[in-house]
């Protein structure tokens, strides 16, 4: 059966692997164009398929997309089909003539890679690269094309982001996307350039301060996050939202996909090893690949339970699904590993350490109550686990662990804690209710409802919480 529930809205298309630069951080190690590149006819046909599939916008990248002579033709076909087109370019070839061609072809936006102040940018990319990029900005401005900057952050430039910001503002740049340099391609050979996990907080702080200034709209890429209020506020400001929008998992294979130079279709152009290639448009139509029930399973069937480390027990786990899979893949070797570059993950590590040093069970227990009541379930969980270590015979602690683990979405742990509480007191109706809910969430719905009914009966129908939970279970609201 077709995956009709997945509606793609965007894609990234690496139209060529050929590039006129040899950037030190290039994730694709691009050099000359690779064999097998789609011909113009094939590429134009793909443009039609992209429109037919209903994409709203697409990003053409590479390599350097403007080294491909027919790129303006692809832009024209896509925009003519109603698909908004964005190009990411290093700007070397983006002179006035090219700017005019892109304008005439209906380009929507252009993003020019800028990785530092002139000296640093040129050292990362190519002598004269910054000057070309500056000229490209001016050319695009002349034609009224919305143009932004894209910066890959590494240890080479993290300390000069403020200077770069001033440089960009001085050039009249209005939008700025920043992304983490991940150890793939050329950057894999330069581990000393790769940021330390804790530096992601510096990036978030910088983005937040920049957004608050309001002089340039800054867009942290999907590999930066997650759920930090500073990050949420940055995005809210830059996107002009009236409320915070929580990260809802990677788009790959769900709301978007990638296309390689040779027509390979995959979830994300950064996750490009063979097992992640879902098909090739030379063999199957794009729609057929997208709607293949066996395609993109690594993402479409990704659940919190498949993750490891802190991500597996994270309160955001089922929503976040570990953040950017490519970050986990490149940093830890698997898309199922924990995301050490997540701001929340970093925070958890600190909290775990904090609570492990506390030896006052009563104080921890009180603190856990406060944390639960304020909705900080994950931190409460840390406090309670430490309380359990200090006071292992306290049934109340196990009940509380059951609750906090349930609210964190960790149903196995919730079940374990409630079972322990019931071992100590088989008439503990609160633990009984917790056990019922855990079983229900773990898929044993009938057994969960049976136990919840038993708990309600034991209280004589006086515990409104148990009654309410039973209603949720039987009404299909859980």
């Amino acid at each position: 059966m077709a995956h009709i529930e997945y509606k793609p809205v965007t894609a990234v298309w690496e139209v060529t692997m050929g590039c006129n630069m040899r950037c030190g951080h290039c994730g694709s190690s691009c050099a000359g164009a690779l064999p097998g590149e789609l011909s113009t006819m094939e590429a134009l046909d793909l443009c039609d398929q992209i429109a037919e599939l209903g994409l709203r916008w697409i990003t053409l990248s590479g390599g350097e997309p403007l080294t491909r002579k027919d790129t303006p033709d692809l832009v024209k076909r896509l925009s003519g089909n109603g698909v908004k087109v964005n190009i990411i370019t290093n700007g070397w070839l983006l002179d006035t003539d090219m700017a005019k061609r892109l304008k005439d072809s209906g380009i929507s936006t252009v993003a020019i890679s800028i990785d530092g102040t002139p000296e640093i940018h040129d050292s990362v990319r190519k002598e004269g690269a910054f000057e070309h990029a500056r000229n490209a900005f001016h050319a695009m401005t002349e034609f009224g094309i919305e143009t932004g900057a894209v910066t890959t952050i590494t240890k080479k430039n993290i300390d000069i982001l403020s200077d770069l910001k001033e440089e960009l503002i001085g050039m009249g740049v209005k939008t700025w996307q920043v992304q983490l340099g991940l150890p793939m391609g050329n950057l894999k050979e330069r581990p000393d350039w790769v940021l330390e996990p804790k530096q992601v907080n510096d990036v978030i702080d910088f983005c937040y301060n920049t957004a608050k200034e309001g002089r340039i709209r800054i867009y942290p890429a999907d590999c930066i996050g997650y759920y930090s209020k500073k990050d949420l506020e940055t995005r809210r400001i830059s996107f002009g939202f009236d409320r915070h929008s929580l990260w809802d998992g990677c788009n790959a294979g769900v709301r978007g996909f990638g296309i390689l130079h040779n027509g390979d279709i995959l979830g994300c152009t950064s996750i490009r090893s063979k097992e992640f290639i879902e098909g090739n448009i030379r063999k199957r139509k794009l729609r057929e690949i997208w709607e293949d029930e066996n395609a993109f399973l690594w993402r479409r069937q990704l659940t919190k339970e498949k993750l490891s480390g802190s991500c597996k027990t994270c309160v955001y786990g089922s929503k976040c699904l570990g953040g950017c899979p490519n970050t986990r893949l490149t940093m830890k070797g698997s898309i199922y590993e924990e995301n050490e570059y997540c701001a929340y993950n970093l925070s958890l590590k600190k909290k775990e350490t904090k609570y492990s040093k506390c030896d006052n069970a009563a104080a921890l227990r009180r603190l856990a109550d406060s944390l639960i009541q304020q909705g900080d379930y994950q931190e409460a969980s840390f406090a309670l686990k430490r309380t359990k270590e200090l006071d292992p015979e306290n049934a109340d602690v196990y009940s509380a662990i059951g609750y906090s683990e349930f609210m964190c979405g960790n149903y196995e742990s919730c079940l374990e804690a409630n079972n322990k509480a019931l071992e100590m007191d088989s008439n503990n109706t609160y633990a009984m209710g917790g056990r019922a809910l855990a079983l229900f969430r773990l898929g044993q719905k009938d057994e969960g409802i049976r136990i919840m009914r038993e708990a309600v009966a034991l209280t004589g129908g006086r515990d409104i919480n148990l009654i309410q939970d039973l209603r949720y279970m039987t009404d299909g609201k859980m």
Binding site: S228, R366, S370, I372, Q373, G375, S399, G409, G461, N465
Partner: protein
């Protein structure tokens, strides 16, 4: 006597102390404030009483702006305001400040929508000062050792409770009880036609019972106690789902003008509360938000003796 409070840096908390200030010259003064704790406001709250002379609750609002010393204490002194050197007694509250994390994260649980559990569960005890052996505020009402005989659950009780029929559960009763006020609602001779359990009754009683339309529909379970039964979009008067305009059955956005409504959103002063206003914000059948919120359940005492419904509210 000392009490212990665990408070969060950056979040307000209050200490309520009973005195006879107003009817006497004696009242509580803040005489010692540790570094890192700031006084925000002082307000007084009347204790419901038919008596001319009644105690008040002096409520001191604080916020911890930074970590305190390990043994930080707030000191209150009972003073005679006409003779400040005449101090009567001291009351110390020790403060443990939980430092805030510099990075804050969005609150989230995949079970939040479905599982809006109240704090009334076995794992989470009631009490204003969480876990303190001698809570400064209990069940949302000020008390202390001295309060115990005269103030219980926020209402004068104790010795008076048993013998003085003028005050029971905070409502006037006694000799006039039968005809004047019962359970806080007018009753008596007018009872049959005017108000019953706080709801209009009498002639309208046939169509309005306990404040809710009933009648034929009632029996047919189409409407019971005023709420459509079995209706997926409305249950017990509360819209299900994420209807933006209605939350908990009351229009959102009407916080300033809504009475007995629930201000939606993150109104810092009052949440799930009742009448708004400077006095109300802290405690009157309402639920103080912030850290205190967590410890004050529904403003009513719930215990084993409680029925599921008391004065119209679940507890």
């Amino acid at each position: 006597m000392a009490n212990e409070m665990v408070v969060f840096q950056g979040k307000s908390f209050s200490v309520g102390l009973q005195s006879m200030l107003g009817s006497t010259a004696y009242g509580w003064c803040l005489t010692g404030l540790p570094k890192g704790v700031v006084l925000l406001n002082i307000e007084t709250e009347k204790v419901q009483s038919p008596n001319t002379v009644a105690p008040i609750i002096q409520k001191f609002w604080f916020v911890a702006v930074s970590e305190t010393d390990k043994k930080a204490e707030i000191e209150f002194t009972m003073m005679n305001f006409t003779n400040l050197s005449a101090t009567d007694q001291k009351h110390n509250v020790s403060i443990s400040v939980v430092p805030s994390d510099s990075d804050e994260f969005a609150k989230y649980s995949e079970n939040n929508d479905a599982m809006l559990r109240s704090i009334s569960n076995a794992a989470i005890p009631y009490g204003y000062v969480l876990g303190a052996q001698d809570p400064l505020l209990k069940y949302g009402y000020a008390c202390d050792v001295a309060d115990t005989p005269t103030l219980k659950y926020g209402y004068p009780c104790g010795i008076q409770d048993a013998t003085n029929t003028n005050v029971k559960y905070g409502y006037t009763c006694g000799a006039n009880d039968a005809t004047a006020v019962k359970y806080g609602y007018p009753c008596g001779t007018q009872d049959a036609t005017l108000m019953k359990y706080g709801y209009p009754c009498g002639v309208e009683d046939a169509t309005l019972k306990y404040g809710y339309p009933c009648g034929a529909e009632d029996v047919a379970t189409g409407v019971k106690y005023g709420y459509p039964c079995g209706e997926p979009v409305l249950k017990y008067g509360y819209p299900c789902g994420d209807t933006p305009a209605l939350k908990y059955g009351y229009p959102c956005g009407d916080a300033p003008v809504l009475k007995y409504g629930y201000p939606c959103g993150d109104t810092p002063v009052l949440k799930y509360g009742y009448p708004c206003g400077a006095q109300d914000a802290t405690l009157k059948y309402g639920y103080p938000c912030n850290i205190q919120n967590s410890a004050v359940a529904y403003g009513y005492n719930c215990n084993a003796q409680n029925a599921m419904m008391k004065y119209g509210y679940f507890c």
